[in-house]
């Protein structure tokens, strides 16, 4: 298929960016979206130009490194999918595709389609863990955990830290990301002792780093490639934030 691409180009974090248009031909519908961008890169290099910079690594939907706003949607026009898993068969011959980076105060653009997401690391450093030293663990089967709890915890743990939730949210809130981690750990007996402190510290860090407040629009859930559910936000609000006074 032949396509017109409108791609955001920006030299670095300080430069002003703009859209550039490119024509690209003979893309196989079986190619992935990033393979299509690879083809564009090859074309640009052959023309003596600089290829488009974008983040990616695993190319199988798990590392959370790829991003991209494609035709106005985080991770493009498909459900529960990352950009790297998106395939060209979702587009038609002759389509124009607009490709932009994540846009959020917490995620500055550093070049073209690449953004810096170290704010997510900082939020987790504020408390997104269980404080256990290597060597001090007890026998793994000492505490049985009801299967449904383990499964629910796993649902939260599925977050890949991609940032689509933030990029989609009109408030640029990172609440879904934060809640998924809070939930994962709070649902397990091992995570209980620190649950309240963890929730508060992470939310405080999120606020400090310039992410907006959650007003429950639910847009994040729709674009989350891993189907992380709003229930986690509800749990965070109900069990930890509303209970603020108690602690």
């Amino acid at each position: 298929m032949d396509l017109t691409l409108k791609v955001w180009r920006q030299e670095n974090s300080k430069a002003k960016g703009n859209f550039e248009s490119y024509q690209i031909k003979n893309i196989s519908p079986d190619s992935s979206f990033l393979e299509m961008i690879d083809a564009l890169s090859e074309q640009l290099i052959n023309e003596g130009k600089e290829p488009v910079a974008f983040d990616h690594d695993c190319r199988e939907g798990i590392c959370g490194m790829c991003s991209l706003f494609i035709n106005g949607r985080a991770h493009g026009p498909d459900e529960e999918i990352t950009t790297c898993q998106l395939h060209m068969r979702k587009f038609k011959d002759g389509d124009t595709i607009v490709i932009e980076p994540w846009r959020a105060a917490g995620f500055p653009v550093i070049k073209d389609l690449m953004v810096e997401r170290d704010a997510f690391d900082k939020i987790l450093q504020a408390g997104g863990f269980i404080s256990v030293n290597t060597g001090s663990a007890q026998e793994a089967n000492a505490i049985p955990i009801p299967q449904h709890k383990a499964e629910e915890s796993m649902d939260g743990a599925s977050c890949i830290g991609c940032g689509a939730c933030v990029a989609t949210c009109k408030n640029s809130s990172a609440m879904l990301f934060v809640a998924s981690k809070v939930s994962q750990l709070a649902l397990l007996p091992q995570g209980k002792p620190e649950a309240v402190r963890r929730a508060k510290a992470m939310v405080a860090k999120m606020d400090e780093l310039g992410f907006g407040h959650c007003t429950n629009t639910g847009a994040c859930e729709v674009e989350c490639p891993k189907g992380v559910s709003l229930d986690h936000i509800a749990r965070l609000n109900r069990e930890f934030l509303a209970a603020n006074l108690k602690f």
């Binding site: 196989s28 079986d30 798990i62 269980i130 060597g135 007890q138 793994a140 089967n141 299967q147």
Partner: protein, 646 residues
């Protein structure tokens, strides 16, 4: 280079590690604060090691090329992690896990290391559960297990099809805690470019900031490489796009020996190649072989009809299908080790029975769905089925999956002794980057085990033994130490040389060519003649690279083409060494299959008399033939037998 000393403690196998721990030197807590350790890599090995050594009180600097430690390639591991818990009461034990691993590796790994790995495996599971890793559980709330290839027991722990992700997030969690505590300093989007050696000891690294392009140097009393495997030599593999062999290659050029480079694992169940634009291959977890049955048509004409789309696989009756693994290996069936399953698939496809493009076989869940119900299959493999459907656009619940072998893991890597130290004092290597535990073939679910064993439970002990006499070494100021200044300048000059080539070929176009050479000549079926040809082609490609490469853009900014070029230059060199190693090994063992050395039935034919050794290569200088050192493998505790999965 003198005789290789593996430093394996004496005494009975089961007592070696205890004995080592009892006798090694330790560093007292107050002194730990005076000692710096650099850990390159934040995968399971790197993150676990950095966090654990931070907890002990060392000052750790941790580097990775991605924007966050959580994105390390370990995140992609799907199927599971082994441990000898024997929760299923099916006869598992530390000894059995050790034995399966040694046998699975076709008797080309060091007994003492593998035994220690099996010994600490149970601690890993305890540790991960304590960190909040949500492993799968049964209705009683206890940990569940599944089976993996090469074992007759059920010892694999898993978290849906995302076990690597969950284990890495656990390690990343404890790493985050140490970063917050100030014990670990994190450097993301930072690529190691060279090792700094002072008076024969590893003392630091040269790095490139991938955003600003700045080249800087860092000092440490010891350096740990946890930089993963070099499978991307083949261009197409299941490795992450950025996975590379460069860090290992740089230290090889500084004197660290590189062991068994030819030992590469080809995974039998990957999604087949779709065409020229393909950029990487996607694994379908080995766990699928618990319930999926592998087959191709029995008749050549049926295979052809299926390829032409004239016949649907679902319409082919059972008696016209060849479940070739079950036929050839009745005892292990679809769960034979990876090397065996991969070769069997290639054999069928080479004989004309392949489906799809001809380079694919079926993995069929019909019987399992009939037996267990769709819901259970969905609960077990739902996310893998979904991933398959997204990529291939067919529904594996109704039409069998198409799979084909792909490059997946590198057993070879930096030579390390029992302490995980390379031949450069002060330089350690853990995880996939070293060669240590898997011999000529790794069993499924054992890489995660090894990465975490090395990172949590082995290195944090053994590194003490080295650091104990380093307490008196004052921190060096890289800006004033000649070795650091020189290494930095060398890196700058190297980048300059790359940028100045200004030919007309992209990095990827050359990389794809390398991949084709490797797959054809250094892939699943190797021959003397083919390898010799391969070496000539690789050498020609090296010329091409240094003459015709073009890197657009500048060096003082984000420049992915420069990053890729730097890695590709090393891949070309690694590829050549792999071919040389494959050529010297006149036997077939594990993932290394030489067509000249096989039984009449086509099984691998090992030569224990002449090749029961680790082949460790020493760099002798540019354009010079590297020197092969042999670490003889002693099997004191197991009897070396022909691997038989029949």
């Amino acid at each position: 280079m003198s005789q290789l000393n593996s430093k394996v403690p004496s005494g009975p196998l089961a007592e070696k590690w205890e004995k080592y721990k009892a006798n090694q030197n330790l560093v007292n807590p107050a002194n730990k604060r005076k000692l710096d350790i650099i850990v390159v890599g934040t995968g399971l090995g790197g993150a676990a090691a950095a966090a654990s050594m931070g907890e002990l009180g060392f000052k750790v600097k941790n580097f990775c090329y991605s924007d966050s430690p959580r994105r390390a390639h370990s995140i992609a591991a799907q199927g599971g992690i082994n441990a000898a818990k024997n929760y299923q009461n099916d006869g598992d034990s530390v000894y059995r896990l050790f034995y399966d691993t040694i046998k699975g590796g076709d008797y080309r790994a060091r007994e003492a290391n593998v035994y220690r790995l099996a010994e600490v495996s149970n601690d890993i599971i305890d540790q991960c559960v304590a960190q909040g890793v949500p492993f799968a559980r049964d209705y009683g709330g206890y940990l569940d297990n599944r089976s993996f290839g090469g074992a007759l027991v059920s010892r694999t722990f898993y978290a849906r099809g995302q076990t690597g992700q969950q284990l890495l997030l656990g390690a990343y969690g404890v790493l985050n805690r140490q970063i917050a505590a100030g014990n670990v300093e994190l450097y993301t989007r930072t690529e190691m470019m060279d090792l700094v050696v002072v008076d024969g000891r590893a003392r630091g690294i040269v790095v490139r900031n991938m955003i600003s392009g700045e080249i800087s140097t860092h000092f440490a009393h010891a350096v740990v490489l946890a930089t993963g495997g070099y499978g991307n030599v083949f261009f197409l593999s299941t490795m992450a796009m950025g996975s590379n062999g460069s860090a290992a290659w740089q230290v090889y050029k500084k004197g660290a020996l590189f062991a068994n480079p030819a030992f590469v694992q080809i995974h039998p169940t990957c999604i087949p190649v779709h065409g020229e634009a393909q950029s990487k291959l996607t694994l379908m977890s080995e766990s699928l072989r618990n319930d999926g049955r592998i087959w191709v048509p029995k008749e050549l004409e049926d295979a052809e009809k299926i390829r032409k789309g004239e016949l649907q696989p679902t319409d082919l009756p059972a008696e016209k299908r060849d479940y070739y693994l079950e036929r050839r290996y009745p005892a292990f069936g679809n769960l034979v080790p990876r090397d065996v399953a991969s070769r069997a698939a290639k054999e069928r496809c080479d004989a004309g029975f392949g489906i799809g493009t001809g380079h694919a076989v079926y993995l069929d869940f019909k019987d399992a769905i009939e037996r267990l119900g769709k819901d259970l299959i969905e609960a077990r493999y739902g996310n893998l089925f979904q991933m398959y459907e997204k990529i291939v656009d067919t529904d594996p619940y109704t039409t069998p999956m198409m799979i084909y072998p792909a490059i997946h893991y590198t057993m070879g890597g930096l030579w390390v002794d029992y302490e995980l130290q390379t031949t450069i004092p002060g330089l350690f290597s853990i995880g996939e980057a070293n060669f240590s535990d898997h011999g000529a073939n790794r069993l499924g679910a054992s890489a995660l085990m090894q990465g975490l064993a090395d990172g949590y439970f082995v290195l944090p002990f053994t590194i003490n033994n080295y650091l104990a006499d380093q307490i008196g070494v004052a921190r060096m100021n890289p800006e004033e130490t000649p070795e650091f200044i020189e290494a930095r300048e060398k890196t700058l000059a190297y980048i300059d040389k790359l940028m100045k080539i200004q030919g007309d070929r992209s990095v990827d176009s050359i990389h794809k060519e390398l991949g084709k050479i490797m797959w054809e000549h250094v892939g699943m079926g190797r021959t003397k003649e083919g390898l010799e040809k391969g070496i000539v082609k690789i050498q020609a490609l090296r010329e091409e690279f240094w003459k015709n490469l073009r890197i657009p853009g500048k060096t003082d900014t984000i420049n992915p083409e420069l990053e890729k070029a730097n890695r590709l230059a090393d891949f070309i060199d690694i590829g050549e060494l792999m071919a040389m190693d494959a050529l010297q090994r006149n036997e077939s063992c594990g993932g290394h299959f030489r067509e000249e050395y096989k039984t009449p039935e086509g099984e691998a034919l090992r030569d224990d008399k002449n090749f029961k050794f680790v082949g460790a290569w020493e760099y002798m200088g540019e354009k010079k033939t590297p020197k092969l050192h042999k670490e003889a493998l002693q099997f004191e505790f197991v009897e070396v037998k022909t691997r038989d999965y029949k």
